[in-house]
Amino acid sequence: MTRQHRTRRGEGEEGFTLIELLVVIIILGILSAVVVFAVRGVGNKGEDAAYATDAQTLRAAQEAHCAKKGFYAGDNGPVSAQQQLANEKFLSEPGTLHRIETTGIDGACGDGSKGPKGFKVVCGTFDTTPPKGCGAGGAVVQGGKLVVGETFTSKATTTNVASSTSGGTHAWWESMYNGLIQLDEAGTPAPELAVEVPTVANGGITNGGATYTLKLRPGVKWHNGGDFTATDVKFTFEKILLKYHARARNMAVPLGYDATNCVASNIVAVDPLTVRFNFINPYVPFLKQLNVTEAAMNPANGIPGLSTACPTQAQADAVKVGTGPFKFGSFNTVTGDGSVVRNPNYWRSGLPLLDEIVMRPYGTDDGRYTALTTGAVDWVWDVPNPKVAQLSANQSFKTASTQSLGGGPNSVDTLIFNLKARGSAVVNVANGTAVDHPVLGDVRVRKAIFHALNRNEYLNTGRSGVGKVSAAPISSEIFGHATDIPLPPFDTAQANALLDAAGWNGPRTTVGAVPNVRTASASHPVVDEGTPLTVRFLQGNVSFNDRVSVMKSNLLAVGINLSVTLDPDTATKVVFTDRNFDTYIVNYAHGYDPHVGVRRQYHSDQISTSGTPNNAAGYRNTFVDADFDNAVKTLDPVARFGFYHDFQERVVADLPYVWMIETPNVRGFTAKCTGFKAYTGLFAEGASCRR
């Protein structure tokens, strides 16, 4: 009976009971609540590991010292031991090591089998000497492998950074190439494959800035063994850059490019080491468009079997031969790993130092960051903003902020006002008829919104303070940035006054669940009395949630209801093709020169429905058009700056956009590696690592 009784109870136990499922739900709730706290402090393990590795490094140096001199270095304190080892070139850069005690060595000199435990790590006390750059002093480490945590995968078929502006492609493969000119972090030109930067003084720039003559570096070899010549430069521009590189294509018209036959007769190979570019009109930004990101060089024989005038996109993308410090190594189609290996014939003598760079893709930001902090990778291109402070404080890692990105440098979060009636702007603009937006067409409303937005809060909330509040329409990182044109400051009183003056001073109302929203009074010239002041915001990316929350609360504080629609899939089309929006945010890349990245936001010839992120505001100002048209052909920097200054004065008065924040990327890397150039895809040209 007992067994039967038990069995009956057992029959009711099919899988989980209702109570048990309730328990499951409760546990899920608890987990959701605690998960945020549970994942804090991830980086400490990496630091501990770095202590241990540093101890091993010091031990190896001590053993080398012992082997050569017969005794360990330093017997009067830890710092002196490290310094002595460094002075005698047994350590490369002592400043990057944690302070390590050498007391308590348990093995006699020469007893290398004892392991690293002979050195005691003193946690919390560090030698804070700044690390030196590669080659700036101390011994450098030749050889070794650098592992890079990458964002994108499946890049085996697009290895040519001359045919693509994809940030992923550039992060993976840019180190295989060179440009004619290099740009430093500030965008200053320096010779790369050209032996000198052309100037008026050296005869490189003539014809009022319409003709550029570049002398090429002799003795440069392609990875496939051929010589780099002017023919290669002409080929690269004609067949690849002007045809397929999204930003280089800006030069197609100025160079009289025939895109159908892929011919640019205005580019002339004068002799094997001289190439000349004859622009139709003076074209001043040219030197800013010749670095490896904007114009990587390809060999003329880089597309085997090319039988037509123009290569296909696939043929162009498949080029993997450059002159860069690293050569194509491999791509593993199973793991998604890619690699480039040292180019022993690199034209910069003694470089690169590393033997190989392995690119490993990670699907998530957190995965990539964890890989860095656990030592699985040595370098990541983009430390997640909330992790930047944590990583910067960790002595085992270093961070480097840069505005230069493979997909487009010097980016600015920009709030766009659609100045035209929703969905009708382009047609009317094309017909020469201005159809102003009933709300945002009034500059007082735009200025009120500018005053109402707390851009510091936006920066601190949305990007954890990584970046800076914009101070002018042109990025502070490039030529033309004005420092004397004040933007409307955060001032709710000013915002309220402007909205009152604009006719939005009717009785407050509630829109849905949003209380205290302004309405139009009878004095409003366009909208009906009683219409609530609602501005639609199209949100194209969920990562902007925090930033949008800030904007909503800022605007509500002055009685503006920001109605947000999240549309990650079609937002770009809605804005740039349909133009059916009120406000939207684009992270505009300003490039290295205003002509490249700024002009497209303001010039009236950039208003279109082509789907490209150009003059989304529908802004039209003939004086601004003239400023850009004059600046592009003005060689004198002072005069050129004057045009850009005038442009900025005008757009600050008109406010077609709110220039929110400048958004740099932060590289993160292990402190065991040095010599990086964070601002270029040739980031590891002079890098070396201690292991």
Binding site: I27, L31, V39, A246, Q313, G367, G407, D569, R600, P613
Partner: protein, 321 residues
């Protein structure tokens, strides 16, 4: 199951797969993201986007694209990946191995552990061991896989350093032979355990419930009366009959083996089909998406069929029916 019913079931597979395929084709082509814009690049004008669309064959009417696709499919050609520009068959084939390794290992782990723990739990229902096992099972079943993955990485990889935090191999090493295998196994353990955890809990509970149901049957009473030990009664008499629902669960898992564990693969950076699926959806790689759907739907349907056949093999009553 008779031969006639088997044929009937096999014939049902065709319209099911066709229906899923047509639906997916339509949905994929209705998706708003435009691979032509991605290919054309930043700042491309309409002519360049149109050229990219023509290059990808997306400028033709959807019905024509469908016809071309079906025609190729009839020859075993799944098309060419927009992103990787190589045959979809190759792309999927590259991801299939790592995914089968991960999901197969997890299935094996969960099956063995679920059956063993379920049997152990049913030996003394409501005893201390059963209570402990059931409680742990309930708890682990409550945990979402991606959360377990994060915590496992945090504790076992980041804090304890026992396992690697992700990927399938050590990027810094150049192992060969046995060392390479050991390296893969070291990277496999954590994601496989995470994936197996909730499956184990479910299998354990179903095994236990099935056993407790069976031990009340007359044939078990007879076996016990004849002097068979509790152990023998459970293992040799009750367990085979308690396996029917267990087989259902295992069968359903086999069907999803190829689709991978999308979340777990993403969190661990495991280079399998789950990750490929996410990437293909993100980049609008229609041919890869369609190939994946075809593969997954076929494997699920065939696994269900195999489960039905296994039923008949395990239980004579089903065979007779």
């Amino acid at each position: 199951m008779t031969r006639r019913s088997l044929v009937r079931r096999l014939l049902q597979v065709v319209p099911a797969v066709a229906g899923i395929f047509v639906l997916t084709f339509v949905l994929v082509h209705l998706a708003p993201n435009d691979p032509a814009e991605d290919l054309a690049g930043e700042g491309a004008d309409q002519a360049q986007i149109d050229a990219a669309r023509a290059y990808l064959g997306l400028d033709r009417p959807v019905i024509e694209q469908f016809g071309i696709y079906v025609g190729r499919l009839a020859h075993g050609d799944l098309g060419t990946s927009f992103v990787q520009r190589r045959p979809v068959r190759e792309v999927i084939g590259d991801g299939l191995g790592p995914t089968l390794l991960l999901t197969g290992s997890a299935l094996l782990l969960s099956t063995v552990a679920g059956l063993a723990l379920g049997t152990l739990s049913a030996r003394r229902p409501r005893g201390p061991l059963d209570t402990a096992i059931s409680s742990v099972a309930l708890f682990t079943y409550s945990l979402p896989g991606f959360w377990v993955a994060q915590v496992a990485i945090l504790i076992l990889a980041v804090k304890a350093g026992i396992f690697p935090a992700g990927a399938m191999t050590d990027a810094r090493a150049t192992y060969t032979g046995l060392d390479a295998t050991r390296d893969v196994v070291r990277h496999l353990i954590l994601p496989a355990l995470v994936l197996a955890l909730s499956e184990t809990a479910l299998l354990l509970r179903v095994t236990r419930a099935g056993l407790l149901r069976e031990v009340g049957r007359d044939y078990v009473l007879t076996a016990t009366a004849k002097g068979a030990s509790r152990e023998r009664v459970l293992r040799h008499h009750a367990l085979p009959n308690a396996l029917l629902p267990v087989v259902t669960i295992i069968g359903s898992r086999v069907g999803f083996l190829v689709s991978g564990a999308v979340l777990v693969e993403s969190v661990f950076g495991w280079p399998g089909l789950g990750r490929l699926l996410v990437e293909a959806a993100h980049s609008g790689d229609h041919p890869v998406l369609l190939g994946m759907v075809l593969l997954v739907s076929l494997s699920v349907i065939l696994a269900t069929l195999a489960t039905d056949l296994a039923y008949a093999w395990i239980d004579p009553r089903v065979r007779a029916a």
